[in-house]
Symmetry: C2
Subunit: 392 residues, 2 copies
């Protein structure tokens, strides 16, 4: 009994419950079954499945600063805390009727969730999942009525801040969380933005917050180092003179990429990746691709840009050389490619194919597959190294 009792906890990297480092772990969303796979990126293996997470049809994950716990934002307003070491749910709250993502504060104390229904942002204690702030995101409609706005593009920023956009109100808000001093309270600063911001990204240093606009050809940018300057418009009229196509799936702007001083941006409603000069945010190039881009992501060494696509041309991934801006390879990982995630130092990339029920691992050097994992309708892939990165 003594031996068997202890072996549960004394195990090697092979067992699901043993002592193990959490640096090479990750979670894969199984969107249709409300479950997660806990995976190991060194051995290309599934450690275990966690079930009971509700509606994961548009889910994402952030991590605690010890890289042990994942916070899963479900579509049904569920916020679930899972333990990767025991592969179990350790906390769950239904905090709204419909949510669209979240973030964890720089110091790891707060988890914030962005809500569609009833709108606004809620902030929770990352240890206990107790509510610590409720920001309803109210605004005044043109007819004078007060309303709550859907919020989108919620990210963390340096200084224990959250930044998010109000889809209905056309605004960007900064939420300063308390610094621990007595009586300090959350504080909101509001900025006018463009029409209908639908998603956002923040540069890796946490300086520039950029919102994509559904209501216009252009983007809204807020320089968090100089908020007095307010929101400015960048890449205006990028689709001028071109016919916009029906938009099947909005691009994910968190996937935006900065490589070699240039930003690579998915164009909304065009078969193009836009290239902007980050010194003055001017448009320097449009790279034609085979469909409407959804994720546009640079490998950690900035050499190549990997692009996934919207329905109906979503069975391929195209790889672009960041220097020549030419497509160097078109890959076919499976049906309905939904997400890509690079290993932390970039030697491999994991790609989910929802309708092929698999995740394919590619070498970023050879561009050849090196492993394949079975998964039930996989969508998002999130590695624990995100615990250490600003703005993800």
């Amino acid at each position: 009994m003594l031996v068997s009792g202890c072996q549960v906890f004394s195990g090697s990297e092979e067992t699901g419950h043993g002592l193990m480092g959490t640096g090479d772990l990750g979670l894969i969303i199984e969107r249709a079954t409300g479950s997660l796979l806990v995976v190991n990126t060194t051995s290309h293996s599934v450690i275990n499945r966690i079930e009971g997470l509700g509606d994961l049809s548009h889910a994402s994950v952030v991590y605690s600063r010890d890289a042990r716990y994942g916070f899963v934002f479900g579509r049904d307003g569920g916020l679930t805390k899972v333990d990767l070491l025991t592969q179990s749910i350790v906390g769950r709250v239904i905090q709204s009727g419909n949510s669209i993502g979240g973030a964890i504060s720089q110091d790891g104390r707060y988890v914030a969730v962005s809500n569609y229904e009833p709108g606004g942002v809620k902030v929770f204690d990352s240890k206990t999942l107790e509510l610590v702030a409720d920001i309803p995101a109210t605004y005044t409609r043109q007819n004078g009525e007060a309303a709550q706005s859907k919020t989108v593009g919620l990210v963390d920023a340096p200084g224990n801040r959250f930044v998010f956009s109000l889809f209905d109100a056309g605004e960007i808000w900064i939420l300063d969380m308390p610094d621990g001093a007595e009586n300090s309270k959350p504080e909101v600063t509001r900025f006018d933005a463009g029409k209908a911001p639908y998603d956002s990204m923040i540069t890796p240093d946490g300086r520039f917050y950029i919102a994509g606009l559904f209501g216009e050809d252009g983007l809204s940018m807020l320089d968090l180092w100089d908020t007095d300057a307010g929101v400015t418009e960048i890449l205006p009229n990028y689709g001028k003179g071109e016919q916009q196509l029906p938009v099947y799936k909005m691009p994910h702007l968190e996937g935006w990429t900065v490589a070699d001083g240039r930003a690579f941006v998915p164009a909304v409603g065009h078969h193009q990746v836009l290239v902007a000069d980050m010194n003055d945010w001017s448009l320097v190039d449009k790279i034609p691709v085979q469909g409407q881009p959804v994720f546009v992501m640079a490998s950690p060494d900035n050499r190549r840009i990997w692009v996934s696509f919207a329905h109906p041309k979503n069975d391929v991934v195209q790889v672009i050389d960041s220097q020549t801006r030419k497509i160097i390879r078109t890959l076919e990982p499976g049906k309905a490619v939904l997400h890509m995630e690079f290993t932390p130092r970039g030697e491999e990339v994991w790609v989910s194919s929802r309708d092929s029920n698999r995740v394919t691992v590619y070498s970023t050097h050879t561009l050849e597959p090196v492993a394949e994992l079975e998964a039930q309708k996989p969508s998002g892939i999130f590695f624990t190294s995100r615990a250490h990165v600003l703005g993800l």
Copy 2:
């Protein structure tokens, strides 16, 4: 017995042996006693001490990709593998007479060590510490004799490469490790560099390898995206017309910083931080500081540059605003400040004061101390988040 036997492994974050995430752990070198402290950056606490690591008078650490194991490079040629979860030594080899640092390959399979005596680089399997490659770094002296060069500035680069400099030979070498294909062997490519390269850094994307030169006022740069161009000289004659001071301690170039498109570089033998434009590597500014800089490090949000100094003015740290390039605070953490390490997302920085036997944790926002830890003659501080970063 059953209960007590199992509790060792069932513990919370508070115990030294329980299940715990490894994302918020780190090692502090205790240089005089040949020991390490295993620390937790969330609770600002020491988990345990590991002893028996030999001469740690100039030691550094890299991490396995699961962030569980540290590889410690000692001055006496010792390469020691320690387990942060059990706080114990799991492997140790004396691989040379005198070593000066090391690196781990992008995929985590290889650990390379840079040697002074007898010179050259040795590469080990990260699981077993078995020798997999011995690169003697031979060159021909002016008198025609063959000799082995001291090697310095060893870093990992994308594509499972190591790059290092030959102090005696004035060369930079790229070592390509096998990619797993049958019969593939390590391959070396040699480049002429400037006189007496003494340390190096690589930019965060793994593109530019830059060596400081003891033999001239200037730096040697190799663009790994365009090795046909060979080594070029940057920042030539940066101290021209100024009297160079006696050099008490060579700067550490790994600490070099890239912030906002500019590189902040410690000047050798001058009370200055040099500022270079990364577009053309021209010198754009010299920031006067209170002593000879050793480490020049940007906080992860790039807002501020933290500078430590050589003997005899090594009891202070100066903090520079990266935009205005003005010193905004002079801190006095203790006697003989040797190293600084930012928490992964940059909310705090840990500073070791050797002769005060303590490590002080500062808030990067308020610049005030938030915690203090006792340590025996602490020098280097290394957090596990380094597992996920290229070139550290």
